[in-house]
Amino acid sequence: MKISRDTVRRVAELARLEFKEEELEKFTEQLGNILEHIDELNELDTSQVEPTFHVLNISTPIREDVMKPWLSPDEALENAPHREDDFFSVPKVIED
């Protein structure tokens, strides 16, 4: 199943990515080829098969809701591209 350029644009939007026109053509083709190959999974009847979400037989480990020391605010902000006091500063949200 090949994929349309429109679908690629829509998926890019969901993924917060953007492609230039020249890239879009190549990407659409590559993605299409990959998805076409992946379609072979439809040869298998999996109607009676449970999915494997986890290879290990474990359940979610739980702990007491007790605060433990970890990074200080300064350490956490060390790599901030823009910092204002104890906050990460970002451009404003513009409503369309």
């Binding site: 994929i3 679908t7 690629v8 998926v11 890019a12 969901l14 993924a15 917060r16 990515l17 953007e18 492609f19 990407f27 590559q30 993605l31 080829n33 990959i34 998805l35 190959h37 992946i38 072979e40 999974l41 439809n42 040869e43 298998l44 999996t46 098969v49 449970e50 999915p51 494997t52 979400f53 986890h54 290879v55 290990l56 474990i58 979610t60 480990p61 702990r63 990074l71 350490e75 956490a76 060390e78 790599n79 901030a80 591209p81 823009h82 990460f88 970002v90 451009p91 404003k92 949200v93 513009i94």
Partner: protein, 486 residues
């Protein structure tokens, strides 16, 4: 001085007996890195001053009788996917080019506690996505056996460094073969432990249900030494298994008489390089001579593994890589008006093409209307693949296959065709899907002088048996004595 060409076992013996100093050892390796790594490009970051300091500390402790164990004072590398406090962790990406980890990964911490000297961060495919290390933002690493060829990936820098004696070991990661395949292409040992055996805390996530950390070394015994240090439950990783670890070096020397080896017919298909197949069959024959019994088995769903993986791994990656948005760390575009533009442009400029491809596949496979047909379907096929192994392990103890369908290919040979590149992992992927341990060891060379790798897969948490078979084979051959020309 030929110190860098030894194994961990050999140098740690000398260190313990105080016949060599960790400082001299570290300086010797650093000198070799300076001579050789401009050609191999196996390191993204080298930590010369810190390493010498660490080595001096080791020397002081050891001379005052406080010897910590076989890794004390031994210089090793870390794939640049493991956080190390105060050091850049780039994941081979522009988007983390200047990111300095504020904490140590559990793997890093355990190695430091064992007294290892960390030489630097090894080159890798961006975010561990690739089979050649050509997807690194910092340029490809090269195969020491032929610098025009790839070292494999995504732990290609780790493999190239160990193979050219630029460290005694490196810790890599393996999601679809990224430890085993580069180990095979570079003629060294690489083991991917059972999923859950080694903590993933502080290891940048690619596909959380598949990723595992493991050592790349020159010998099987060295790999066992490292596994001893890095394995074990970690409360900071909820997927780390609460299963006790043994000393992996204890039983590797036991005989393998009576061990049952399964050889799956689906791994000996058309398309494998004939010399690779020949090398692997010869290795199986030797293992049989050592007393193991060999039988042909079937893993019927093998051919669907690549497709299954290329839905599941990208899906998990699309979620894990959503955090790279320019807000809290890493690359951020300047000159944008809105938050949305910042997200989009940061990611469009910060990620390489392979990463974008996989994020797109994953986003598509998880999106509304496609989730059942792709992601859920793949998880069901994953069950079938896992069951194939469970069935096989009722009659055999380990499964032996080629690691890679071919020896190292030329740089640039597969970059135009992503699908072609994906098929390099055809033999390594099933084991990640099933969560099993797998090791690759050298089993010969092609007529062109390129290494061939043999893969041994085991039952969950049975690293001991695969190490034993691997070690027994290794000591009856001389492959590890041959060095790359560099």
């Amino acid at each position: 001085m030929d110190l860098p060409f030894h194994t961990i076992s050999e140098v740690s013996d000398l260190i313990k007996k105080k016949e060599i100093s960790p400082v001299d050892l570290t300086e010797a390796v650093i000198r070799r890195i300076e001579e050789v790594d401009t050609r191999v490009n196996s390191y993204i970051t080298t930590l010369k001053d810190e390493a010498i300091r660490s080595a001096k500390e080791a020397e002081e402790l050891i001379s005052s009788g406080k010897y910590k164990g076989p890794l004390h004072g031994v210089p090793i590398g870390l794939k640049d996917i493991f956080c190390m406090k105060g050091v850049k962790t780039t994941c081979g990406s522009k988007i983390l080019e200047n990111f300095i980890s504020p904490y140590d990964a559990t793997v890093t911490q355990r190695l430091k506690e064992a007294g290892a000297v960390i030489l630097g961060k090894n080159n890798m495919d961006e975010f561990a996505m690739g089979s050649s290390t050509e997807n690194s933002y910092f340029g490809p690493a090269r195969n020491p056996w032929d610098l025009e060829r790839v070292p494999g990936g995504s732990s290609g820098g780790s493999a190239a460094a160990v193979s050219s004696s630029l460290c005694f070991a490196s810790i890599g990661t393996d999601t679809g073969g990224s430890i085993r395949q580069p180990a095979a292409l570079c003629g060294i040992v690489g083991i991917k432990p059972t999923y859950g055996r080694v903590s993933r805390f502080g290891m940048v996530a690619f596909a959380s249900s598949l990723d595992q950390a493991g050592p790349l070394t020159k010998t099987v015994e060295d790999a066992a030494l490292i596994l001893n240090v890095i394995s074990g439950k970690d409360s900071r990783d909820s997927t780390s298994a609460d299963i006790p670890i043994s000393d992996y070096t204890v039983h590797i020397k036991d005989e393998i008489r009576g061990i049952k080896i399964g050889v799956p017919r689906e791994y000996f298909i058309e398309g494998i390089d004939t010399e690779v197949e020949k090398g692997v069959r010869k290795a199986i024959a030797l293992i049989e001579d050592l007393g193991a019994t060999v039988e042909e088995i079937s893993l019927p769903h093998t051919r669907y593994a690549v497709s299954t993986y290329y839905i599941l791994a990208p899906s998990e990656a699309s979620s894990n890589l959503a955090r790279y948005d320019g807000v809290k760390y890493g690359f951020r575009v300047s000159d944008v008006e809105s938050l949305m533009d910042m997200y989009i442009q940061t990611r469009a400029q910060g990620f390489g093409n392979e990463v974008k491809r996989r994020i797109m596949i994953g986003t598509y496979a998880l999106s509304s209307g496609y989730y059942d047909a792709y992601y859920l379907k793949a998880q069901r096929v994953r069950t079938l693949i896992k069951r194939d192994f469970e069935e096989a392990f009722k009659t055999v103890d380990v499964i032996v296959t080629p690691t890679s369908p071919e020896a190292a290919f030329k740089i640039g040979e597969k970059t135009d065709d992503p699908l072609k590149m994906y098929l390099s992992d055809i033999f390594t992927i099933p084991c990640n899907l099933a969560g099993l341990p797998g090791i690759s060891i050298p089993c010969g060379f092609t007529s062109g002088g390129l290494p061939i790798g043999l893969q041994i897969l085991g039952k969950p948490f049975d690293e001991e048996t695969i190490l034993k078979v691997a070690h027994n084979y290794e000591i009856h051959t001389n492959w590890k004595d041959k060095r790359p020309p560099i």
